[in-house]
Symmetry: C3
């Protein structure tokens, strides 16, 4: 990046306060900023720290105290900053273009317009790759897979046969979609495999992180609703159904056949047991482990997950457990002494 | 799938009850079924829900109430359903066949009969690939690896040098077998690497999920016993030994040198600390964290894992902790009042 | 391996005690040893078990009791054993050499001396690969990536654009470095992506396990300090900064913008919430979940992580919770009886 403050102000529809010719060569956090960086302050709390920053300029709602550094004034600095990030992203972008000569594409696969296949990509029989799809090097697409327009799939991702991916999805490096679900029945002291003949359907505008696994259904579908965002190292079991516009943070685990509503948020390391239903708009705290179905709008944490406020109090109480144990022991001794005394006294009185 | 009910009845050795000409185009769960789907009911509880299903026919032990839909009667519907799933799986199957021209095979590697190597597969020096083995696109096999007959390895799996895989194993996409164990010793304020020169041995009929890591031993072996099934996102440390016919659910972690017996079940997110022994037939509940060796036949949960029933009661009690703390405080106050009163009274009496 | 005891003694600068011509064909643990194996004993506790071992010889500080087996005497058996392991590792090593004809290297990439690129490796535009770097088959290197001299990257690893890797690093199979951080803002009932235009910087001598994900920064850097060792299935969020010479065991999760000091140890399954600071030299126990910033030298465990000793006592007390609840109930009953009795008595006395 190498723009003047005036150029960036134009991009974000903001007003320059100070020298419009200041050169901006990057963006950063307030404390991490280097000379040339543009930073963003959301409110006065952050603005107070501008004095310590080496930033060249700031995106803010009002001029910084003492006009410390030049500013671009905007009503919504978060949004303006996102626009700048997007501008940088487009400049940095280095998606593959065209069909690399080492890509292996089945004769029966159909490729849309402007499809880009990186080196060593593999596309299976009867697959349909939508317009503008980008498959980075090393992506393996099985048979009968459908990928919607403008989806981007990063290196070394695997999409097993019959998987369906929506439009404008992002799937990050080394993730596996459509592997066999984990289903076995005991038979004569061994585990007999239940064949997994269903598939995975991922709707539009879904983003999935790296090293995540979404298993195909035993039969029917494992489904991720549109707009849902999934982080790294997440495991989603067979026949799970995740609703629309959910957020699943890193290391979340969803067991088989769990049904998650819309707008559900699962914080890092949270888990949901199999065959449960999580109501719309529910929030599960970090490491919360849900073992019972949950009504819409719940806020839960802990394992087993309970009402978040109750859990918070139980967590605080837990630290005091050893002390409480001592107090109970003491109470017992004192009570015993008292009982003995009262008894004697009663006898004396008789 | 497109069969008549009569054809499926023949496949599962069942008896048609109702129209044998009904066309079956898929299989599904009772509630998820679409027209044309065959479903399965295990018992009367499930049978009661058939009325709400759009299924075309059912696998069951007895005719559905009111002959709601046509049925195939079998003594073991689970087993019959698995046979149908297997039939579908075989039809769906799209394993690579032959040696793809982009596969890179060392001259010193030996390939058995009917070996299939997908696009961009790589087989290292002196490796031996058994009869009927299928390596999907992007699989990387290091030097001196041995893979037993009829094993299937899905895309982008890595098998590091000297790994040994048994017969009829399944290894799912993006899993890493034989990476260096995690071993370091502190030396002058740094971590010095302990070279990891052992290997991984995976016995016959093992299945391993996606994005799982099984590390090679420091010296000697990390070993997974025959018939053991391992899910996604599992971590198995160096020199661990997992017994036969175990089940390790998603996100389980086994630390280095742990020894797990036969027929052990580890539920999702369970963990075992290093250098422990878990007796045969033990079950560890979801997220159970084992920090001490465990005798055969144990049923444990919690962290640290304790007897499952005790843990269950402790979990219930945990929610009542804040209330209990209040009760203890109240007891103390009442007791103090009483002690004071008794004391006064005793003085009065003297 | 096939050496005489005398040859190994020379390698480790030790003194042979017993037959110097004994043939050593491998190394192993005391109990796992097979004939021909060399083992190591650190102290007398281990030495006592030599009688049960099938080992051919032992590395030790003093001759074994009754000269049970030949020995090499050294002051530091751990160090000597590591030297032997290193010797074996060098012999076993089968790194790719040269540039494989199927590797795809951008014309604008610069390769140092003695660079080895395995089959189907891909190197993006303007990347710089240092002297002696080894990229195993299937590694995908994006644009503008820099890799320092003598770093080894195992199969199917992805390095996204702009990533910087130091010298002498090891990155294990199927790990993803530089994927987009997980950043979204709610906008009209949907999640709008915050573009992630920062990068990942990994300093010298870092080792990273398999199926680990280190996300690129939103802006600025995600940074792993030199000498730090990271295990398998670890998740490191955007803008996190890990210090020097840390150890992160398997399944650790570091949320976005967390700052971890130097010489910090995180045991298996530990987690750190976002935007926290962990002081130098801190140790977090297995599954510890840090939700507040932590001063240097802390030793914490539990979730939320508290002082390790307090947590240990709380864990023990937890098992006694149901019993404690019963005791409190009993205390209440006894106290009530006593209060009633005292009251009556007081009335009698009046």
């Amino acid at each position: 990046m190498n723009s003047t403050l005036a150029e960036i102000a134009k991009l974000v529809h903001g007003i320059v306060h100070g020298d419009p010719g200041v050169r901006i060569t990057g963006v950063n956090g307030i404390m991490e900023a280097r000379p040339g960086d543009l930073v963003m302050v959301r409110d006065r709390k952050y603005a107070a720290r501008l004095g310590e920053s080496r930033a060249a300029a700031v995106l803010a709602t009002e001029p910084p105290a003492g006009d410390a550094i030049p500013a671009i004034l905007v009503p919504d600095p978060d949004h303006a900053f996102a626009l700048v990030l997007q501008h940088i992203e487009e400049a940095q972008r280095c998606h593959p273009t065209g069909i690399h000569e080492t890509a292996v594409v089945s004769e029966s696969a159909r490729l849309g317009d402007r499809v880009a296949l990186g080196a060593h990509v593999c596309v299976g029989a009867e697959s349909e790759i939508g317009d503008g799809v980008v498959l980075y090097p090393g992506v393996v697409v099985g048979a009968r897979v459908r990928i919607g327009a403008d989806t981007i799939i990063y290196p070394n991702v695997t999409l097993r046969e019959d998987t369906e991916i929506g439009r404008r999805c992002l799937i990050h490096a080394n993730t596996a979609i459509g592997s066999d679900g984990f289903g076995f029945v005991p038979r004569e002291g061994r585990w007999a495999k239940i064949p997994q003949v269903g598939r995975v359907v991922i709707e539009d505008d879904v983003e999935i992180g790296s090293n995540t696994a979404v298993d195909r259904a035993k039969c029917g579908e494992t489904r991720i609703g549109r707009g849902t965002k999934i982080d790294n190292c997440v495991q989603i079991g067979h026949n799970a159904r995740i609703g629309e516009h959910c957020v699943l943070a890193g290391m979340v685990g969803i067991a088989g056949s769990a049904i998650i509503g819309n707008h559900v948020r699962l914080a890092a390391g949270a888990g949901v047991a199999g065959h449960l239903t999580i109501g719309d708009g529910t929030t599960i705290g970090a490491r919360g482990g849900v073992v019972r179905s949950v009504p819409p709008g719940s806020v839960l944490s802990g394992f087993p997950a309970i009402d978040h406020e109750t859990e918070r109090r139980a967590m605080v109480a837990r630290e005091r457990l050893p002390a409480m144990l001592r107090r109970v022991r003491q109470l017992e001794r004192r009570l015993e002494a008292l009982e003995k005394g009262t008894h004697e006294q009663t006898e004396n009185n008789s």
